[in-house]
């Protein structure tokens, strides 16, 4: 508060007709224009500065700091994330994320399952984008095997992963909105997602955790009439996204709660290994689909949105634009879907068609061996990464020549992205925590594996 008493004038306001006769009436004579025309006074009058009661006490006692535990059971921490926050009043001084509450031992389980069963395990890691997990694993196995999938399989993979990017970003927007207070975003996001999940169920058999992308191709061909379903999605989604923009984009509450909140700079993001929309919001133009293309995605035209400020608002905008760009890719895939096999023809890897088993002894033996022992992968090690909705999702696979991976490690994007939390939350307000976590979009299945 300024202590410039000359400029503040007290006004007595009362309802007409209730004046107490004892009080002297005010002087409603000539209104004096204030003689103080300094910059600060002009700013105050024009409303460029906000005077509030909040006083930042810089020389606070260290004993006044309080340690607050947020989670693991919490409605806004996006799963079982526990944050130990050292608070000084409302300002956060230090944060420590504590994870491990969803650790499932998936890497150990991966060593017990053979290569064609590995997809069921890997798909449950980042459960909001299961196709991307399966794709990373399948690409790694195919690299070790030295096989190439046919173009139709690659195009189907691109179609499913881009639809998955849409559905994952819809959940991110839904939870982001709900955490900040726009509860209707939750309903909108999940409503759109139902349409996409219905298509997934028609194609793969499951709404989530599909085990559809397998080493060698995909598990089954697209169902007849898939073009109509995808067309319907392409019609509905842009209109609905326009609804989100109408609700949120220029909404002063939304902008006030997300602009300048959770800011991360480009150097910090690169140093901490943060990838995905968070990195792009800081201004770094890095997308694995453009840098190290996979599965034939280089044939499709699309753009990668890059933010400027590195705050929560930029990440929200980037996710919306990414949905639009994914729809663009899906349209191109739909128009140019090649005909052919949906999985590689190598009989040592792909099971024979079911009808052939009745006719040919060899087919029966192949089927038997594939489903009891599994195919053997030559020894070697490789690392393959895809661009999941959260960032770089990689699979480091080591094989010793057997039917099961010797070591399967997943580089989880949310695991590294969580390292951004202590930086973005330092010296910010407690209320911004929720917005920041929601914008980083961590999926705890990915973090803990």
């Amino acid at each position: 508060m300024t202590d410039d008493t000359k400029s503040t004038q007290t006004l007595d306001v009362w309802v007409a007709g209730t004046e107490e006769p004892e009080l002297a009436p005010t002087d409603e004579g000539a209104q004096e224009i204030s003689t103080d025309e300094s910059e600060t006074r002009l700013d105050e009058q024009f409303g460029r500065v906000v005077e509030d009661d909040y006083v930042f006490d810089d020389d606070a006692d260290p004993e006044e700091r309080m340690i607050l535990n947020m989670g693991p059971q919490h409605p806004s921490t996006h799963g079982v994330l526990r944050l130990q926050i050292e608070l000084e009043g409302e300002i956060i001084r230090r944060t420590k994320p504590i994870i491990g509450y969803l650790h499932t031992g998936m890497e150990k389980t991966g060593e017990q399952l053979n290569f064609s069963q590995g997809g069921t395990n890997v798909t449950r890691m980042d459960y909001l984008s299961p196709f991307h997990n399966e794709l990373a694993f399948s690409l790694a196995v195919e690299r070790l095997l030295g096989i190439e999938v046919p173009p139709r399989a690659a195009a189907i993979r691109v179609l499913m992963t881009e639809l998955n990017r849409c559905s994952s970003h819809l959940v991110a927007l839904a939870t982001n909105g709900m955490d900040i207070g726009a509860v209707s975003m939750m309903i909108y996001g999940f409503r759109e997602r139902e349409q996409i999940l219905a298509f997934f169920e028609k194609t793969t058999g499951l709404r989530m955790n599909h085990n559809y992308i397998r080493p060698g191709g995909v598990a089954a061909d697209l169902p007849p009439g898939w073009k109509d379903d995808v067309d319907a999605i392409l019609d509905e989604l842009p209109r609905r996204i326009q609804q989100y923009d109408d609700l949120l984009e220029n909404n002063p509450i939304w902008v006030g709660r997300t602009r300048g909140v959770g800011v991360i700079s480009a150097e910090e993001a690169i140093a901490y290994g943060i990838t995905g929309p968070t990195l792009r919001s800081a201004g770094v133009d890095w997308d694995l689909r453009k840098a190290f293309p996979y599965s034939g995605i280089e044939q499709y035209e699309f753009e990668v949105p890059v933010g400027v400020h590195g705050d929560v608002y930029d990440r929200y905008r980037i996710r919306i634009v990414e949905i639009e760009q994914s729809l663009r890719i899906i349209e191109q895939v739909m128009d140019s879907m090649p005909k052919g096999d949906y999985r590689v023809d190598d009989r040592k890897v792909t099971p024979p068609p079911r009808a052939r088993i009745d006719e040919s002894m060899e087919a029966l033996i192949h089927h038997f061996k594939l489903f009891t022992e599994g195919y053997k992968v030559p020894p070697g090690e490789t690392y393959v990464a895809v661009e999941s909705p959260r960032g770089e999702l990689g699979c480091y696979l080591v094989s010793d020549g057997g039917a099961k991976p010797y070591r399967m490690h997943t580089r989880a994007p949310s695991f590294s992205n969580l390292q951004a939390l202590p930086i973005t939350m330092a010296d910010s307000l407690m209320a911004d925590t929720v917005a920041t976590i929601a914008s980083l979009d961590p999926v705890m299945g990915d973090v803990d594996r």
Binding site: P75, L102, N121, Y127, M208, D448
Partner: protein, 155 residues
């Protein structure tokens, strides 16, 4: 004295009335852990609406809820937290174990998971699936309502 009750009077026992009230506005405590949590959220969303059963409000605080839907895999680190949240819920309370991982450990039969959440808390309904679709979860919830109404589950 009239021998039949007039048309706008309902006669019942206190028990039945209490059970009816309990089922018609069960507040779930949000204990979503993993993939099943997403399906639980989808059940609460617009398409498969849980609001028609009075249950769309997922209470953040266990002290204000009476149904705990354990949605997802419970790891060794999370088990004491689960028990603590269960203990904080006031009586009468019910537990639905949603999904294969919560019911039996699912496909992850290893060191990291509690093989079935019934080792930690008493469970009333098990909903199978990986993840169970919203229809399965609703069937489980409605079965729980039925069992409470008939008095089979008496907490």
């Amino acid at each position: 004295m009239p021998t039949t009750a007039p048309g706008n009077l309902l006669m019942t026992t206190v028990d039945k009335a209490a059970r009816w009230a309990r089922t018609r506005s069960m507040f779930p405590a949000s204990f979503g852990l993993a993939c099943c949590a997403i399906e639980m959220m989808a059940t609460g969303a617009a398409h498969y609406d849980l609001g028609r059963f009075g249950m769309e409000v997922f209470r953040a605080s266990p002290r204000q809820s009476d149904l705990m839907v354990v949605a997802g895999r419970v790891s060794q680190k999370m088990a004491p937290v689960l028990r603590q949240v269960y203990d904080q819920m006031p009586d009468p309370k019910w537990v639905i174990s949603m999904g294969a991982c919560a019911s039996t450990g699912g496909m992850f039969n290893n060191y990291a998971l509690v093989q079935g959440v019934d080792q930690v808390v008493p469970v009333d309904i098990y909903v199978p699936g990986c993840p169970p679709g919203p229809q399965s979860l609703m069937h489980g919830i409605l079965t729980l309502h039925d069992k409470i109404m008939t008095g089979e589950i008496d907490n």
